[in-house]
Amino acid sequence: MSTTAPVATDTLLDFRNVEMTFPNGTVALRGVDLTVNRGEFVTVVGPSGCGKSTLLRIASGLETASDGTAHLGTDRIGYVFQDATLLPWRSVLANVELLAELQWQTIAVRRKKALEAIELVGLTGFEKHLPKQLSGGMRMRTSLARSLTLEPELFLFDEPFGALDEITRERLNDELLKLFVEKQFAGLFITHSVSEAVYLSTKVVVMSGRPGGIVKTFDVPFPMPRDPDIRFTPEFAELVGEVSHALREGHS
């Protein structure tokens, strides 16, 4: 599989001139144009408080843009929050079943979906564990599994691995890439790590500081599935450097 998936013209998310002004007068986003097509994994990098998360909140419908249009090409959307947001009284299995349960699917169906998703994220054997018995990485895997049960066409990630240690983060990056290739969802990923952005995506979008706007967009030429060692090549380092420069310019 390559970065140019056969149905790449199919637009799942289309932002046109999106603006976001909060009731208190804060302008979070200004003139954002952004599309996410089927087969794309788009990562947004930007300084803290530049409205990256607002972008996702608008995409998911949690917020409504104050101006411009935000069009969605699917209603199957997965949303992965900054922290795992597991319900502490529910076991891993019950947590993963939650979304299907909220969609009134039958017990048999949601159990089957949950077990499949748990296997996909490598948590088989931990079904009965409670969130407090899991490590941060395992909690995030559970959260991923929970979203996978929706079989999303568009996956929104709000800095999901920000709180994890480097090694766990790299492993989860690899597993996310594996899922991306296997499940063929489109992704919109928010991060403040430039190397994570370049490694995961087919396209990197750099945002400026408040009010957030898009400064520059980079296409990532490396093929999927991605070789983890690509991170140590000069081409990778060069692209990371370019993105970092754009980020610094946008910030000043």
């Binding site: 949690l62 929050f81 922290d83 947001t85 319900l87 502490p88 939650l98 909220l102 407090k132």
Partner: protein
């Protein structure tokens, strides 16, 4: 739940003795947990005998512990006091159940509509500051019988912690958890039953523990003022006081106190069994 939540403060405060117990573990360190209170108890009993002896002819106002023990060992007096306690326990249970149902229902109503919270929560606070003594004559007029009157007193005393703890528990749900449900277009009912109520359980059980303790106080106070029908331990205390039966008076006060302690421990245990698996009380 966030650290700055007022409910958590309540929970931590009321469970701190349990935490101390747990940190003891096994081995010699544990001796320091039960030995000091026992030494204090021994000292108090010793002092008690000394004072009682020093009172000479008037020693009947402070009967010695062995004479109080005798009250429990004598079948007739023991029967009377325990029957009284039984009546009080019934009042306490009825009052606690009523306070829980009303309190949780009220809190749910407030969590569903801001205007209900605005218009009724101040009265929950007022309720707490009503001098029960002052309204007992009114209750006496209205209540059809002694049991109902005693239960009403019990509810008035025990209600507030159930209302406030449940309400703050329901409100303490994380924003991201709410949004998780919102993204699936969950109805209010689903959010309440699958998110808010489960999340509020630790706070509700902490409130229940406080209310149970207050329900004991309420039941004894209720006994004291309403002596129609079968009489409870509070009414017995008044009778013993009037007849200068000091041994029986002390025996019933001690028994009522032990009952209060037992209730506190039992409801702590219930809370642990119900939510201790996922919620760390200390």
């Amino acid at each position: 739940m966030s650290d700055d939540n007022p409910v958590i403060v309540v929970i931590n405060t009321i469970t701190s003795p349990a935490r101390r117990q747990r940190s003891g573990g096994y081995g010699p360190a544990k001796v320091w947990l039960w030995l000091p209170p026992i030494l204090v108890l021994g000292a108090v009993i010793g002092l008690w005998y000394a004072i009682s002896a020093s009172l000479g002819a008037r020693s009947f106002i402070l009967p010695t512990p062995d004479r109080i023990l005798e009250v429990y060992l004598t079948e007739q007096t023991r029967g009377e006091i325990f029957a009284g306690l039984g009546v009080t326990v019934q009042t306490m249970i009825a009052g606690l159940i009523a306070a829980s149902v009303i309190g949780i229902g009220w809190a749910i109503a407030m969590s569903q509509a801001k205007w209900i919270e605005r218009s009724t929560y101040p009265y929950a606070v007022v309720l707490q500051s009503i001098p029960i003594l002052a309204i007992t004559p009114i209750i006496a007029f209205w209540a059809p019988d002694g049991f109902t009157a005693r239960t009403i007193v019990c509810v008035l005393i025990a209600l507030f912690p159930m209302v406030s703890n449940t309400y703050f528990g329901l409100q303490s749900v994380d924003r991201s958890h709410r949004e998780l449900f919102q993204l699936q277009k969950a109805t209010r009912w689903i959010v309440l039953t699958k998110l808010q109520l489960p999340a509020a359980q630790p706070a509700i059980f902490a409130g229940l523990r406080i209310s149970a303790g207050l329900a004991v106080v309420g039941a004894v106070v209720g006994d004291f003022f309403f002596q129609q029908g079968v009489i409870g331990i509070g009414a017995l205390m008044r009778k013993y006081q009037a007849r200068l039966q000091m041994e029986e008076l002390f025996a019933s006060v001690i028994l009522a106190s032990l009952f209060g302690v037992a209730v506190f421990l039992i409801f702590g245990l219930i809370a642990r069994l119900a939510v201790g698996k996922w919620y760390d009380f200390g």
